[in-house]
């Protein structure tokens, strides 16, 4: 069963006077993501990874093509009911800066319609899962980068999503914090019935976490497969060498 089924996705960003300046970010992307896998999207800066992730998460509309997410066609409109099944965590998280960790989680739980008696338990579980107990009353703008990222992950689990988008979740973090974040991602995947789509620049992260990987370049998917299948497509000996070869 597929969590994502994308066919011939095109996306062009327009800027400048009357939108005359065009940037063709996606040029006919074809991609399928199976239910329950951690799927990695790799590519150079500006290759189209985040654009593709944003289309799958419904925050951006494709110009043309077919996009099915958890069995819902979102090519034309994003159904509100589907949003209950999705969540996202960005590498550069931003949340209401004057709210504490606990208040932020409460705010987003309300947005996801979790306002029954279980709400408190869900928030406490998220705080515990990401070791944020000491920081529950600390304002967002006073958190370290690592704790901001943990909060972003905690927020992304607030609705127990079936499909989670992680956009460069360890970017700019110290190696020890990045390692902890990776462990948390693995833990989430192990404990829950969840599909994770992850973009990253770190080959180690992709190797550690992802069952399958897609390599995107200039808005086109160049290769899809397991780590070893991707490496076998190139003359490289590891994913990093394969990445460099595919990126050239």
């Amino acid at each position: 069963m597929l969590s994502i089924n994308a066919r011939d996705i095109h996306k062009t960003y327009r800027s400048g006077f009357m939108g005359r300046k065009k940037n063709h970010a996606l040029k006919g992307v074809e991609l399928s993501v199976n239910k329950g896998e951690i799927f990695g999207l790799l590519g150079t800066n500006g290759a189209g990874k985040t654009t593709l992730l944003n289309i799958f998460s419904g925050q951006l509309a494709a110009d043309s093509g077919f996009v099915e997410v958890l069995g819902h066609d979102i090519s034309k409109k994003m159904p509100v009911s589907l949003k209950e099944e999705l969540n996202m965590c960005s590498g550069i998280p931003n949340f209401p800066w004057s709210l504490t960790v606990e208040e932020n989680l409460k705010f987003y739980s309300l947005l996801y319609g979790i306002c029954d008696k279980d709400c408190g338990d869900i928030i406490q579980n998220c705080i515990k899962m990401f070791s944020l107990e000491k920081y529950r009353s600390v304002r967002y703008d006073q958190l370290s980068s690592g704790n901001k990222q943990k909060l972003a992950l905690a927020k992304s689990m607030i609705n127990n999503p079936k499909l989670l988008f992680l956009d460069e979740p360890t970017i700019g973090l110290d190696p020890d914090i990045a390692k902890k974040i990776r462990e948390l991602i693995r833990k989430i995947h192990g404990e829950r019935d969840i599909t994770i789509i992850l973009t990253t620049h770190y080959m180690k992260e992709a190797e550690e976490l992802c069952g399958r990987i897609a390599f995107i370049k200039d808005g086109i998917i160049k290769a899809v497969g397991t780590r070893s299948e991707i490496v076998a497509l190139t003359e490289g000996h590891n994913l990093e060498e394969a990445f460099i070869e595919l990126a050239e």
């Binding site: 327009r14 998460s57 925050q59 509309a61 949003k83 996202m88 931003n94 949340f95 947005l111 319609g113």
Partner: protein, 234 residues
């Protein structure tokens, strides 16, 4: 406290000016009604406008739009908070005006109807601000503070609309707040410039709310196509 500060400062300055000019009871009530209205509209409409602006300032708007919240929930939820805060401001300003300037309300029912009209006007202004921000981005955020002031200027906040130049008086007819002000001031002996004030005010408000929800739906979809929501989150 901050929601009361500016409305009370404004009410005080208008009330003291009215006393200095030796305005009679009805004339003073005319301008005090304007001062109370200005304070309440601003507080209530800002709650609707700020719902979007707070998300933009904290660059967290993409999280809000990722959540299963419809435009109706988003706007009406913020408006309800605006109504609650606006009702507090309305009551406090009314009591303060009665105490300081011997202002008398025009009765419970007309006051309640007038308050409903003010809150609907605030909803329309707040939605218009949200629409402009969704279409043109953060560069038009100034409308959150300026649009209500401009519309109040045209709707005859401290003077009858008949005193406005003709094109502006025509424009005033299209603003629901004009009609609600005329309705309430009729209890102080002022003949409305436009007929059927209440019916016109509520009809215009309902039409604008429906139109703005439709336009907001269009603007959100346009923002999803252009990537505006993501740009506002960067």
């Amino acid at each position: 406290m901050e929601i009361l500060f500016w409305p009370i400062v404004s009410l005080l300055s208008i009330g003291i000016m009215g006393s200095f000019l030796k305005l009679d009871g009805d004339a003073l009530a005319f301008i005090l009604t304007g001062a109370i209205t200005a304070g309440v509209v601003q507080v209530a409409q800002l709650d609707v406008s700020y719902s979007l602006l707070y998300d933009i300032w904290s660059k967290s708007i993409k999280h809000t739009f990722m959540a299963p919240v419809s435009q109706f929930d988003y706007i009406i939820g913020s408006w309800i908070i605006g109504v609650l805060r606006g009702a507090i401001v309305f009551a406090m300003l009314g009591v303060f005006a009665m105490w300081a300037f011997h202002f008398r309300l025009a009765g419970a029912v007309p006051t309640l109807i007038f308050a409903c009209g003010i809150f609907l006007s605030a909803l329309v202004i707040g939605m218009l601000v949200c629409l402009l921000i969704m279409l043109y981005g953060q560069r038009v955020e100034v409308t959150a503070w300026s649009l209500s002031t401009l519309l109040m200027l045209v709707s005859g906040i401290y003077y009858p609309v008949s005193f406005l130049p003709k094109p502006f008086a025509l424009l005033a007819a299209a603003i629901p707040l004009t009609h609600f002000l005329e309705y309430y001031r009729s209890f102080y002996g002022y003949t409305p410039v436009f007929s059927n004030s209440l019916l016109t005010g509520f009809t215009l408000s309902a039409a604008y709310v429906f139109l703005l929800f439709w336009l907001l739906g269009f603007a959100f979809e346009k923002a999803r196509k252009s990537g505006m929501i993501l740009r506002l989150s960067e």
